[in-house]
Amino acid sequence: MLSREVMGIFALGVLWVTALLVAAAAWQDLRDVRGWWRRARRAVRGVVVTGDGDDQTLAEFRVEQRGRATDEARPAIAFHDRAFHSRVHGGTVEIDGRARRLSGPGEVWVEREQRGAAAACPGEAEFDEAYARAICASGFQRDVRVAVRAGDRVVVLGEVEGDAVVASEGPLVVATFDPRRMLSRDAWALALFIPSELLACACVTWVALRPPHFGAVSVLGAILGLAFFLGVTPVAVSLREHVRRPSEAHLRGTWARRAR
């Protein structure tokens, strides 16, 4: 016979195993973010002098997207990211008053706002043209590009070796912004999530175990436990998606026709 007590312990065991696994996975992400943050602390800053790519491009970030019409009352296109591409064409960057050679391969990190601006709908005519294709089965395909060109300020996660900047402790990263703040924010979010999530699980357990066992307060605890079990993993996955490196962070987005 499986008594309520046995099943209660079993259910709480499942709850805690899940909470601990979620915390351990978040810890892995935190470890990675802290690794990037340590590299970012030693990053070198400079201004692009020349780029080997077209139009003096030093590096380029590109997201392949497919847009499809949605069922909204107002015509709109929802974009899906198909692939992320970073390309360091190479060139020279002025660092500490000296021009230094930089060459790929490497990652290109572009600020969220900059990527959003590049992905924004340029105008009504462009929207109409895209929408006509977005309602077709193959959708509307586009590339969102952000180029790093001569005159742009860059932060490079790498090491100066003579007249060159080379990869060190990981891939070379050309960032259009100082990533320390973003990485620090991500690390804090993860670091706060882990104890908060475990604390929430502990609170649920405490409520569920309040005497009289299996009374009204216990029922509330069990409902909270079920809600925690069903809710903690979507929150953890959202956080994981949020702290993805800028070179592979989701852009997605929507274009909607302006009200006429």
């Binding site: 016979m1 099943m7 259910a11 195993v17 979620v22 996975a25 899906h80 953890a236």
Partner: protein, 342 residues
């Protein structure tokens, strides 16, 4: 439970339906004689849940374990029916979808975008499959098995939500919402009537089944070469196992020929897959594989080298995802294509 070949074999494209049918098949209104086994699986599962909910003497370890196992098997039935509907009558297919949604506490129609359209291609239009093994990365491999549903579940439901927002999927959204309301509504009523019994002896088996259904993805694909024509899936070929699992152990052939009825998979595997597949992907026993891979070793096995060939997963050209689609579809043509008329 299958009868003779003339009765059990599915009709090929353009062929008339076989006349001879078993009495049980006629009574239940199922398309294939072996679908009786699927109905039996669901009946046993719901009987176990009902028994535990109503009869205190049934709340014991064997019945609880059996209910959890049958919860998973009912999700397997859900998977099969969303590839190829089980009943001749539309209303029976609709009714069984609601029951399956209650059985796993999730709208079973989520399987259409998540499994049929994304997982069978091993990618979400360039991005990883929502249930790809790459989403977990613990060094201790057992944790990957345990944690996998915690990641694959939310990714799947996020993906389904994005997919369903696209124009022309209103029918799917309605169907999905109705199943969601039914699954949570009925479960809520059971909890309201008898909270602790409902929680322990209905909700726990429901969650076990749904999570095992997600977990099977890592078991069947971890370390496989997803770019290969054949070596993309791990097969479990035990006869008894496949009898209960409705031939879902023959996973390579299922991926390559998604529209085939489950009863044909064993023969197809023996003829088309077994002679050509990497022998390591033909496992005699899932229990032994799980013990060897997750219990008696710490690290995750190295993946197979990629063949870089294009995946050959094939899907029916047009699948009926909703009741409206099913009504519009031409029934005979639908059967020939292996449509998921729901």
């Amino acid at each position: 439970m299958t009868s003779g070949a003339a009765v059990g074999a599915p009709p090929a494209a353009g062929e008339p339906r076989p006349v001879s049918r078993t009495r049980l098949q006629r009574l239940l209104g199922v398309r294939h004689a072996s679908d009786v086994r699927q109905v039996a699986t669901l009946t046993i599962y719901f009987a176990l849940l009902a028994a535990m909910y109503v009869v205190p003497a049934c709340r014991n370890v064997p019945v609880f374990v059996a209910a959890c196992a049958y919860s998973f098997l009912s999700a397997v039935v859900g998977h099969n029916t969303l590839h190829q509907s089980m009943f001749e009558a539309k209303w029976r297919n609709t009714a069984v979808r609601y029951l399956l949604s209650f059985g796993g506490l999730f709208p079973i129609s989520a399987v259409i975008p998540a499994h049929n359209l994304v997982h069978h291609h091993f990618e979400d239009d360039g991005q990883p499959d929502w249930a790809s093994p790459v989403h977990v990365r613990f060094e201790w491999n057992l944790l990957n098995l345990l944690h996998f549903p915690n990641v694959a579940g939310p990714l799947t439901f996020n993906g389904v939500t994005r997919w369903a927002a696209i124009r022309g999927r209103r029918g799917f959204r309605r169907q999905y919402t109705r199943e969601l309301v039914f699954a949570f509504g009925l479960t809520g009523l059971l909890l309201l009537h008898d909270f602790w019994t409902g929680l322990f002896f209905v909700v726990l088996p429901q969650l076990w089944g749904a999570r095992s259904f997600l977990r099977i993805n890592i078991i069947q694909h971890d370390g496989c070469d997803l770019a290969s024509e054949l070596d993309h899936s791990r097969n479990f070929v035990g006869k008894t196992f496949n009898w209960f699992m409705l031939n879902n152990g023959f996973h390579t052939v299922h991926h390559n020929r998604a529209g085939m009825h489950f009863e044909t998979l064993a023969d197809l595997h023996a003829k088309e897959i077994a002679p050509r597949i990497d022998a390591r992907l033909d496992e005699p026993s899932m229990a032994l594989y799980l013990a060897r891979t997750y219990l008696f070793r710490w690290s995750r096995p190295l993946p197979m080298p990629s063949s870089r060939a294009a995946p050959s997963a094939t899907l029916p050209a047009k699948e009926a995802w909703t009741d409206e689609d099913a009504a519009a579809a031409e029934p005979e043509r639908g059967r020939a294509l292996g449509e998921m008329t729901v």
